[in-house]
Amino acid sequence: MAQRTRSQQADRIRHLLETEGEAIHTHASASNARRYETYGATDDIEALRAEARSIKEDAIDRLPDLIDTVKNAVEANGGTVYVADDAADANAYVSEVVRTETEENGIAGDGDTPSVVKSKSMTTEEIDLNDALEADGIDVTETDLGEWVLQVADDTPSHIVGPAMHLSRPEIAELFNERFDPDEPFETAEELTRFARDHLGERIRAADVGITGANFVVADSGTITLVTNEGNARKCAVTPDTHVAIAGVEKLIPTLSDLEPFVDIIAKSATGQPISQYVTMLSPPTDSPTLDFDDPDEPITGDWESAEAASADGNATGDRDFHLVLLDNGRTDMREDDQLRETLYCIRCGACSNSCANFQSVGGHGFGGETYSGGIATGWEAGVHGQESAAEFNDFCTGCTRCVDACPVKIDIPWINTVVRDRVNRSGDPESYDFLVDGLTPDVEEGGLDPGKRFFGNIGTVAKAASATAPVSNWLADAGPVRGLLERTLGIDRRRDLPAFQRESLVDWFEGRGGPEASSRRAERAAARENGADLDREVVLYPDVYTNYVDTDRGKAAVRTLEALGVPVRVPDLPESGRAALSQGMIATADRQASKLYAALAEDIDAGRDVVVVEPSDLAAIHREYERLLPERSVEQLRTNSYEICEYVYGLLENGADPSALSTGDGAEPVAYHSHCQQRTLDLEAPTVAVLERCGYAPETSDAECCGMAGSFGYKREFYDLSMDVGERLAGQVEGAETVVASGTSCGDQLETLLERDVPHPIELLAPGEYRT
């Protein structure tokens, strides 16, 4: 947001929602749904993902060796390898190849301008190859239909896989009718495609040079793999007698057998197809005859018998020329960067974009940088174009983690986003208004951190102060002038309801009713009534900021439920988990908080107590992010001994606790349940569903990826409209249900705003004593 003000950013998002949102959502969500289906139908999907990741880890580790290997292999085949340091270097080399080629062989077709046909390649977008070639007087035609539409429209890709995803059929038809003025105006996709096939077919037949990217490059055989559905990459590669393939150095994999898992998984993750129409594996120069359409009467195969003989001893037919351009452009530095290295494992399938609720609303023109878009784009842009380009859109990532399950090579994309956010924070200039949050923010961050981020990153301290002064603080916060100030200084949108802080925190309530001793007595009584499981467990309920100060009801419900099932509870005053700080990219603050929380819980864990967490994002911090912050043994201790509340209740019921001690339904009582993004990534939706079912409810789960609120995101003025757009999709799924429950704080808040009714945590439905709205 360094380049734009909040209101400019808000305007831009609103514009994208209106102009491109619908087309993007239609296509991205359909690909995402197909991915679920295909992943679900693939028995060994997890093994496949693990294998793909391990091959990439190994390949990036051995990258310098693989570059030498592929050089030898391609040269032995009769081709050339050029390693380009940066965009200018790569472009100059390709331009020179085209010039030399046309000087030697003359210009194909009728014109006197050298011509190039290209198949879709994000790497050539990254280096702006088309502009560079055109500046050198070379005619360039994109042959992938989506890319060609963009070339005609003078537009840029909005998705790694579906570059023209943001344009609808009528928009494309209008563009083509205007540009090509056909006798009969184009209307259907069929007509448009037919026209494109004929038009581009001519270009391909007359081209001097064909340029492709490469999805994978097998180092030891020099095999270029191109994955497409249209067939244009094959035509570009084998029709002209010169083929140039351009690939980032990270596309190298060691051997042919390493290719198998990628061929198997790339289409599944990208479009949800079991396999793409064409997986082209070329070890150029190939034996395939070149096609000279200027000489229509000459057999294409020439004297193929002698050509066969020639190829039998390993030599190509001789009239083919092949160049592999391997692009560095920052990748070697990314390899040295412990946090960005994982980005290089990316196979550019776009699954992270498709699974992202925010991307589904605004697309890559909002959620992207100079070239790359979607979740993984932060890593790419920071690596190849620099932090400024990544800063533009980094805050679109809410850290929901839905892309973590989607990524075929298991890249921790939200972590890369957090790291880049942290680096962007530190590069900023100190702003005014800092004094406003100074008193409330005991963080250890340096540099000109955005005051809004500092505020949300220290929400625990804010909540503590607000609770101490409630209800005055609530009245104040709702007052018009204060909302105006909050909006101007911290960027908190005034249309958003603020959380109402409770005067009595959950910790105080718990102490007030007798603390751990009283809790033990209650649990014992329940056990005596044979409601409890005979488990001899004891629970430390983690009072996250929201449960402790705002929605104390869900904390009380958790305590009552556990006691009714025979488990004594403690609710000590515990430090923040660091989740809020991480959301703002404040890694140093989160690190400090994680250490404090571990220290505060260590004795309980040693005493054999279980840590039970109500807020899924706090549990996710402990289970996922702490491995980046704490020593391995500490993380293992915490991970093994901490549970989500409904997961824990599920365990108790499985071990003999009697659900009749809880508030149960009649067996068919419908409940719409929205799990929580991070909770789903942790596979914790199923236990909640199972508990609801065991307790006599008929839960229906939502399949919207996210509620659109995702912590502080929805409060921020620039993201308000986007947050509501995403939220409305979820609300649309659940609004018909009489009872709606949600596990996450943000999800509940968002649904309450949109549905204008109470949306409790499932534990509030289950706790003894009827839930009252």
């Binding site: 989506g146 034996d287 395939s288 009467d297 190829s311």
Partner: protein, 168 residues
């Protein structure tokens, strides 16, 4: 290969709207002639006792390739799991002949239909070792959704037929 594998191949192709016919080597020529709409071009078939019909032009000129409605090629092997045929880049032009015309007729020996992608990669590796190191896994018909709806037959064929030679 077992009939079961061919059955699986057939079901996968059905899902892709690609027809499969099992014929004996003796009947292949006649079947190909029926399926190949003229003008047709082809790459010679390497199966014993099977030859292309007269109506299929081998060693086509570029003009004949451009005008052809059908391209007939052998394929090295097929993968039943996905309904994939492996088209090799040969000096006889199998790659462009399978790609340029609107209809592709792929001829495969039943013994070359392998069950899954893993077995396919084993075959691929054997081919690479023998110098056949440029291969296309072609699955179904060329397709795009870039113009707003799914359309088949974009740069490649919109119509594919597979002939399995039962006794080869």
């Amino acid at each position: 290969m077992t009939a079961d594998t061919v059955g699986r191949f057939e079901r996968a192709l059905e899902g892709l709207e690609v027809g499969l016919e099992r014929v004996s080597a003796a009947d292949a020529r006649e079947r190909i002639e029926t399926i190949a709409q003229e003008p047709a071009v082809g790459a010679p078939l390497p199966f014993e006792g099977v030859s292309l019909p007269e109506s299929v032009t081998t060693e086509p000129t570029s003009a004949e390739l451009e005008a052809a409605r059908t391209g007939v090629t052998p394929v090295g092997f097929a993968i039943a799991e996905y309904g994939t045929v492996a088209v090799e880049s040969t000096a006889t032009g199998a790659e462009p002949i399978s790609l340029y015309p609107e209809r592709h007729v792929a001829v495969v020996a039943e013994s070359d239909v392998v069950p899954n992608i893993s077995a396919g990669f084993d075959r691929l590796a054997e081919g690479f070792a023998d110098g056949r190191d440029s291969v296309v896994f072609a699955t179904g018909r060329s397709a795009t959704a870039d113009m707003g709806d799914l359309v088949h037959g974009v740069h490649g064929p919109g119509d594919v037929h597979v002939i399995v030679l039962e006794d080869r």
